[in-house]
């Protein structure tokens, strides 16, 4: 029973992974990647790690891939054309790396079977939520906190990069009817000056930009 399920989900994971690389439409690749994540989650469940499985689905399949799909949908990325292969020198390196990988796998399989280790204690509760929580908040508290600070820094960094056009002060809110420009846009001599200028009507904005039409007078 377990073997059948393992082969099913492992096969699904590998199939989806191959499909992800081969597909030319980026959205199909993204969907295949979601398939990989979900099959991996099923494998985690079979390895008695339900918490990791659930988190895998929530974080990777549910959150990160939604962002990827979002980007693909918004940019409306076209199907990629097959480019002639550049960097041909990398092909033998790839073959060698793949060979090493297969050798490692064979090595692990061989030695695990050669020396069957009897598990010393009951491992069935290792993957449960309470034991993971206990570990995170006692033994591994410092790495856990450092990781959360790292994530916070990443969020702040992303915000800063996204708004690098000049962080508007909190008073310069964009409300319908009001428009906010930087001084640079009003006057070419003020190049680099991004302090905001708020205008309250479209006419006012047009006048400041020097784009006022004679007819509107």
């Amino acid at each position: 029973m377990t073997a059948v399920l393992f082969i099913l989900f492992a096969g699904l994971a590998i199939g989806c992974a191959i499909s992800m690389v081969v597909q030319r439409n980026p959205l199909y690749s993204a969907i295949s990647l979601i398939g990989v994540f979900i099959s991996l989650a099923c494998l985690y469940v079979m390895l008695a790690a339900p918490f990791i499985a659930a988190v895998q689905v929530i974080v990777y399949a549910g959150a990160i891939m939604v962002l990827v799909v979002f980007v693909i949908m918004l940019l409306n990325v076209e199907e990629e054309d097959r480019q002639p292969l550049r960097l041909r020198a990398l092909v033998p390196i790839a073959v060698i790396l793949a060979a090493i990988f297969f050798a490692e796998t064979a090595f692990i399989i061989y030695f695990v079977q050669a020396s069957p280790v009897s598990l010393s204690r009951n491992v069935s509760d290792v993957g449960l939520t309470s034991s993971i929580g206990g570990g995170l908040f006692t033994t591994y508290l410092l790495p856990f906190e450092i990781t959360s600070i790292l994530l916070l820094m990443a969020i702040v960094g992303a915000m800063t990069l996204a708004r690098s056009g000049g962080l508007l002060p909190s008073r310069a809110a964009v409300v319908p009817g009001d428009q906010v420009f930087s001084k640079e846009m009003m006057d070419r001599r003020e190049a680099g000056d991004l302090t905001p200028v708020v205008t309250h009507t479209t006419e006012e904005a047009a006048e400041l930009l020097g784009a006022r039409d004679e007819r509107t007078k």
Binding site: N25, L27, Y28, I31, I34, I38, A41, P50, F51, A53, A54, V55, V57, I58, A61, G62, A63, V66, V69, F70, M73, L74, L128, T129, S130
Partner: protein, 358 residues
């Protein structure tokens, strides 16, 4: 032999739960149309069968025989996949809910707990599968090759991702209080002596309940948060280009989602199958459970008949600026109360009849 028996029970459980939930979902649609009719001073569909009782069947037949139109420039594969994802993700959640306490059923010697799959991370499973359901709507909007659909799909994905956070945070209060993610245990803890006083809604989670209720309405794209299909702006949103059975699948997914969200609210905050005399007559639990779910469904319908729709920026700022901070506050509050031992005292006071009367 034991494994086989277990498998058989699970299969029967899935069959029964699926049938019951699907039937109730079909009649929720009818109830919605009738109740909305009464709210708006008209009758609603009452022609097919006595009191409109066969209307769901008529709707189904109509959906099957409608012409199935596929837009010429749609992305075929994704266009077919999207309604399947939405429906499957909606239905998959049903397996973790405890419909009743342990009851005796024929041909089985020991009492059987009325939950199909009881496992350690049931609550996380619900959140995970729900988050996968977003793809159904997002992909439907994209693959239709229609601007209204795309806008609807984007809106709904943004909305569901934003409110999922508040929803998840609202649940953490309950998890802190019960110390487990297993839904059956959470319900068991709420079944006090009287069956009512142990509910999490009463025991220190009223704020969490309100946040959950609001976020859940947004999660299921219902009024007043039904921006993805705001017909005044977006024709029909993400399912503009879907017809016949594919549209029916989205429709089904929406109502199943409504149902499962109500079941989760019942399980976590209203004590699931807990109620008076459940310890004496376990079968009462099933009626209590579905009774509470029906109350929630009625609340949904009532809201739809009462409230106007939010604007999209209002929706977003409400979710991020009000709901999220309140949910975080609820976590801090619950943790503080738990740490100081006040929650245990309150729970004991409420759960024991002696504390209740004297």
């Amino acid at each position: 032999m034991d494994d086989l028996k277990h498998l058989g029970l699970v299969l029967i459980g899935i069959f029964v739960a699926f049938t019951v939930v699907m039937t109730m979902v079909a009649y929720t649609v009818l109830a919605e149309r009738r109740v909305l009719g009464f709210i708006q001073g008209r009758l609603g569909p009452n022609r097919v069968g006595p009191g409109g009782f066969l209307q769901p069947l008529a709707d189904l037949i109509k959906f099957i025989f409608k012409e199935d139109i596929v837009p010429d420039k749609s992305t075929r594969f994704v266009y077919f996949l999207a309604p399947l994802i939405a429906t499957i993700a909606a239905i998959m959640v049903i397996v973790v809910y405890p419909f009743g306490p342990a009851v005796r059923i024929p041909f089985v010697t020991e009492p059987v707990q009325l939950v199909i799959a009881r496992f350690d991370v049931a609550l996380l499973y619900v959140l995970g599968v729900t988050s996968v359901g977003v793809y159904g709507i997002a992909l439907a909007g994209w693959s239709s090759n229609n601007k209204y659909s795309l806008m609807g799909g984007l809106r709904s994905s943004a909305q569901m991702i934003s409110y999922e956070l508040a929803l998840g945070l609202a649940l953490i209060g309950v998890i802190l209080q019960s110390g487990t993610l297993d839904l059956y245990s959470i319900v068991e803890q709420q079944a006090g002596h009287l069956g009512i006083t142990g509910w999490n809604l009463i025991c220190a989670q009223p704020l969490g309940f309100l946040i959950y209720l609001t976020a859940a309405i947004a999660e299921t794209n219902r009024v007043p948060f039904d921006l993805p299909e705001a017909e005044t702006e977006l024709v029909a949103g993400f399912h503009t280009e879907y017809s016949a059975m594919k549209f029916a699948l989205f429709f089904l997914a929406e109502y199943v989602n409504m149902f499962t969200v109500s079941m989760l609210a019942t399980t976590l905050f209203l004590g699931g199958w807990a109620g008076p005399f459940v310890h004496q007559v376990p079968y009462l639990g099933i009626f209590y459970f579905f009774g509470k779910v029906i109350l929630f469904l009625f609340f949904y319908i009532w809201l739809r008949g009462t409230l106007p729709r939010f604007r999209f920026d209002q929706l977003m700022s409400f979710g991020w600026k009000y709901l999220m901070p309140f949910a975080l506050f609820n976590i801090v509050l619950t943790a503080t109360l738990q740490w100081s031992g006040a929650l245990d005292k309150l729970g004991n006071l409420l759960k024991t009849p002696a504390g209740w009367w004297g």
